[in-house]
């Protein structure tokens, strides 16, 4: 499209954005689709949706949006591995990535990570060596948002990586920092469901607990930080398959 001036700026909406083939194929027929229940799917979504922006930049086209091609399946077993964002009304970790994206208001801004795969490598050979620790950032008039993920194509857990996040040229001396997190302990109803014994007949109390566990959660309470020469540094650790959203308000 970019090579045709007449259509170069027409907005592009990716109408069916999904990782693989069969949304309605559960784990019984496709065991590998179990990844859709947990943090593999959420970290993949962060890493791949961020690349759509980079691909748009590279191609010089006008990306307007993308639709997560996932569905709703009525009267099906719990955590059955369908490509859905919730199971029986309980939110899966992947839904919380979209909640994070929804909090990234304003304009996208450039950000770098020294462990983020280049776009060309992702397109040519995907993410098969070290994990991809990538970043996507935005700013608004009174806030800034930084999403960080730790993704790899192999569905395995791994030890946390230490992260030093530097946010520069802040317009305020005091900022409030809220750190949202999706990992095995946060925003993750699937892990709680497994701890319950992976039941298919749930009590009302269990459903309430799962609904609570499935919501987007923070890593501790909000904190106030003083910027130094317009900068703040936030140190954290990020487990494999985890996603963080660090939101600064002033």
């Amino acid at each position: 499209m970019a090579s045709y001036p007449k259509i170069k700026n027409i907005p592009i909406v990716i109408g069916e954005s999904d990782p693989e083939g069969c949304a309605a194929c559960g784990m019984a027929t496709n065991p590998s689709n179990a990844y859709r229940n947990g943090t593999m799917y959420s970290s993949y979504t962060a890493a791949s949706f961020a690349r759509k922006y980079l691909l748009s930049d590279f191609s010089g086209v006008n990306l307007m949006g993308a639709v997560s091609w996932s569905f709703e399946f009525e009267n099906q077993p719990w955590f059955y591995g369908f490509r859905d964002l919730a199971t029986n009304g309980v939110d899966k970790p992947v839904l919380n990535v979209f909640r994070m994206f929804g909090k990234m208001t304003g304009q996208r801004i450039s950000a770098t990570s020294d462990r983020m795969y280049p776009l060309k490598t992702v397109l040519d050979s995907s993410i098969r060596s070290k994990t991809d620790i990538g970043v996507l950032a935005s700013r608004d008039s009174r806030s800034a948002s930084v999403m960080i993920w730790n993704y790899h194509d192999d569905d395995e857990q791994g030890s946390p990586e230490l992260i030093k996040l530097s946010i520069n040229h802040l317009p305020a001396k005091i900022v409030t920092v809220i750190h949202y997190r999706i990992d095995n302990e946060h925003s993750n109803a699937y892990e709680l469901w497994k701890k319950m014994g992976s039941p298919q007949q749930l009590t009302a109390i269990q459903i309430t607990e799962l609904e609570k566990a499935g919501r987007l959660q923070t890593l501790g309470k909000a904190v106030k930080l003083f910027s130094k020469n317009g900068s703040v540094i936030i140190n954290t650790s990020l487990p494999r398959q985890a996603v963080s959203l660090v939101k600064l308000n002033w």
Binding site: G65, A86, V90, R99, I109, D114, S166, H169, P171
Partner: protein, 42 residues
């Protein structure tokens, strides 16, 4: 240690429309949980 850096006076990139659409589609103007509950189907 992984270094991640962003500057708020840095290059502004195309992309705000996507966030806007996500917010409208998934969060809605009238409350996060109300709209998101419809995705669950229960």
């Amino acid at each position: 240690m992984i270094n991640i850096i962003t500057s708020l006076n840095g290059l502004s990139l195309h992309g705000h429309l996507l966030y806007y659409n996500w917010k409208q589609a998934y969060i809605g103007n009238d409350g996060e949980q109300k709209d998101l509950a419809r995705l669950g189907g229960r």
